[in-house]
Symmetry: C2
Subunit: 501 residues, 2 copies
């Protein structure tokens, strides 16, 4: 134990998870670590579930980095412990409590949370619970497999509970780069000009007197599951590769491209697999999450530098943590305030690749709301990147529900990324390069290249009717959501006549 | 003449506007100066109108800073000369050509144009036409009453036509600070940490051999007109003042507030008049436009530093140009790539105040599209500021058309600023502080504080029906635009029964 608590005066703070959890009272704001299900504080939150199971009425505001693993959002949610939740979650169970109105969910741009907290526009955490590899001689905290909002919670919370996670190798020290945005007014630039730049410290520096409890556990991270690649995700990846090649051919960039960013999920992973056999080399990433394919690219030498705020890998890839030393000098984990900072994203000129839930013919993208109402997961970091990247790409299969639902619609039912933030839309059918196009030109390219054949004629009819009514962005307001309404009523966006055909 | 063309080798380039205009051919991309109707190149564009009047078929892509004066968008548009137009216009006449589909309009975030041009994602200008006070000994161009995209066009165009504008005082030299974002990859930070920081040069440095013509004229700027303040704009200003006071009282900032940004128009001007008799002092601005009220605040000493990219004043305020020297050290005009740069906006933590065309109960804002289809003006810089400010405020009267139209609607018909970018909505009735609120909480605050009494019960009924259906952001998809549809059909958003009551 002592090699993980190197500031000896803190040894007296060691206690059980139950004891630590007893510091958390009804109504508190609790900031815990965790991003894309990795590096979440888990022992103490689990003790909260036990309290609820024992009949205690306990409601808290739960703030994280992003989605958390360890079945926490599920169990805390099902036991009614989460009154408010921010800034992102990815739980199908918690989603139900959000959509029913039981849980108040603040779906935030992941770069925004820190600004709101630091400016006191959101309540600061009463207690932070932080997944930690070890505490160094000065009380500095060595993070684990994600940084997320750990540093933010550490400096803004009244009290800190440290979870010493013994499953994490000591060589985690050296992977992280902890930098706090300077206070406003008077803030200076974030001095990052390359994904590999180190600008902070390897540990989270804190006032050790804020540590009120230390809980030691051996609970590992929760590997994620990924849909396997299929012909269609591979086709999307192929279209993007062709697009990047054509940009290189035009002299707009060289074969090292620009620093890459991608969201989580199967399509993103397929795209990154696509880089393996591409002419591109010396690739870099400036992103919020590193998935499986990234580690293969590092292994093969294709990828030379990765800046992220978290890992998020499947079970077979958990082996990377057996030899973390190998990742030193290749991967840096930063606070999400920095990994997603619009200043750095714009400066580096990223290639940004994120998944759309649905997109419309004018290039607006819905990342979050099913039929405009029901939350799927959240906007996450997608908008931090999309607005400021030099190539903003959104990917989606052109259809869902066996072809009854079109992912490209006349008008998206919720806008997370407006036409102004979207350069490229790719489906398995092709790519729509929207840069430099006016809305009436955009709709033609999207329909021609991205819309599923089941819906192509319907969409052309819609556009024809809309353009006859006029307008810069032609719509038939009474029919803009008619596809969604039909889907809600019949389970299909297809017109009855088409279904019969 | 010679004191305005100080590089003597350029004297041979002096010619008439008609001669200069003859360099512009059908199909060319032309980048001209002009922002919020000030500092537009005007002599040569006017000569293009003459060519069209004489029967020539001439179509160009016209790129500017933002809106241009001198009746240019009107005359060029009416003569069919504008095939494509970007990144902003504010002409009621050109709007019609855009909405009919004759003119392809690229409505852009004003900080984005430079990035797209520099990255070759948009065609670079064949010719730039630049409103200029004088040319210095090295061929450097001294701008006039706006900088806008002048420096961008100057360095990216093949050829430059300089318009020497003799109505501008020589003391314009010293007002401007010309800084180019460094090329990507390898770009460094924009080194601005205070609105008063000078980081560039007083002139636009160019290769003088690119100057192909110099046209000397005495055509002045076009003063703008502003709706006078009324009880309602004053009430909106009052609500914002109270909000800022309460933030100061809570210790979130001091009475110097944060650097201010505002869009153009009567409400913004009323807000700035409101600062005159406020407890706030040593105010600064980091904005894209300085309107009338700003100069009174400078005169009274309330405002100590203004960074902008343009002036935009009414006829009575044109007198400020009689003594430009007085503005030195108080106002800096920067390229719009810098005045609107998300990096600087986020760093400075602006208070951003822009006008909404309509807003919805969840905080989404439409700045551009009437009933989701017809372009009003454009998004301008509003999103550059809104996404990154520390206080993002949108203002609108709660109603229009004598109370038949509500500016707060169930769902906006076009989203320029999503819920994620909007902190505060203010109407003459009150203010909705949306920070930290989930959608179901937002709708209550917006309805209570901002919705006109004519529509309050209707809105509550909508929310009730929507929440019964469930969802994180409850909507009745089939009725989300029903208010707009009724307005399009009957000229009123009110339900027939309400109208009779």
């Amino acid at each position: 134990m002592s090699d993980r608590i190197r500031m000896k005066s803190l040894l007296s703070k060691v206690c059980s998870a139950d004891e630590a959890a007893s510091l958390i009272k009804d109504g508190m704001v609790v900031g815990i670590s965790g991003f894309t299900k990795f590096g979440d504080a888990r022992a103490v939150p689990r003790a909260l579930v036990k309290r609820a199971e024992a009949g205690e009425k306990l409601k808290i505001t739960l703030m994280t980095g992003a989605s958390i693993g360890s079945n926490l959002d599920e169990d805390l949610g099902d036991h009614g412990i989460i009154a408010r939740r921010l800034p992102y979650m990815g739980s199908a169970k918690l989603r139900n409590h959000i959509n029913s109105g039981e849980v108040m969910y603040l779906d935030q741009n992941l770069s925004h949370t820190g600004e709101y907290i630091r400016a006191n526009a959101l309540r600061r955490p009463d207690i932070a619970i932080l997944d930690t590899t070890f505490i160094d001689e000065d009380g500095g905290l060595v993070c684990t497999t994600s940084v997320g909002n750990n540093a933010l919670w550490a400096v803004t919370a009244d009290k800190i509970i440290v979870e010493i996670n013994e499953t994490q190798p000591m060589e985690m020290l050296g992977l992280h780069d902890i930098y706090h945005p300077e206070p406003r007014p008077g803030r200076g630039p974030v001095p990052i000009t390359h994904p590999a730049d180190r600008v902070g410290t390897p540990t989270i520096k804190i006032d050790p007197s804020k540590i009120v409890a230390i809980v030691i556990h051996q609970l590992g991270d929760t590997p994620v599951t990924l849909e396997p690649a299929d012909d269609e995700t591979n086709a999307i990846a192929g279209h993007l590769m062709d697009f990047f090649k054509s940009e290189v051919k035009k002299g707009h960039m060289d074969n090292t491209l620009r620093p890459l960013q991608s969201g989580v999920g199967a399509v993103a992973n397929a795209v990154f697999r696509g880089f393996q056999d591409s002419p591109f080399h010396d690739l870099t990433m400036y992103t919020e999450v590193a998935q499986d394919a990234v580690f293969d690219l590092i292994d093969s030498g294709k990828m030379t530098a990765v800046s992220t705020t978290s890992f998020s890998v499947t079970a077979p890839y958990m082996k990377i943590f057996n030899d973390v030393k190998k990742l030193h000098g290749k991967i840096i984990l930063r606070p999400q305030e920095i990994s997603n900072h619009p200043e750095v994203v714009r400066r580096l000129g990223l290639i940004s690749i994120n998944t759309a839930l649905e997109a419309d013919i004018y290039g607006n993208v819905n990342s979050t709301h099913v039929c405009g109402t029901k939350m799927m997961n959240g906007i996450g970091g997608s908008a931090d990147f999309a607005r400021n990247a030099s190539y903003t790409c959104f990917v989606t299969k052109s259809y869902a529900k066996k072809g009854l639902l079109s992912s490209i619609v006349p008008m998206v039912t919720h806008v997370d990324h407006s036409e102004h933030s979207v350069d490229v839309i790719a489906t398995e059918l092709g790519i729509a390069d929207l840069r430099g196009l006016a809305p009436r030109e955009r709709s033609r390219v999207v329909i021609e290249n991205c819309v599923h054949p089941n819906f192509k004629e319907m969409m052309k009819d819609y556009v024809k009717e809309a353009e006859a009514l006029g307008g810069h962005t032609p719509h038939v307001l009474s029919k803009a959501f008619s596809w969604h309404e039909r889907f809600l009523q019949t389970g299909s966006m297809l017109m009855p006549a088409k279904e019969m055909a």
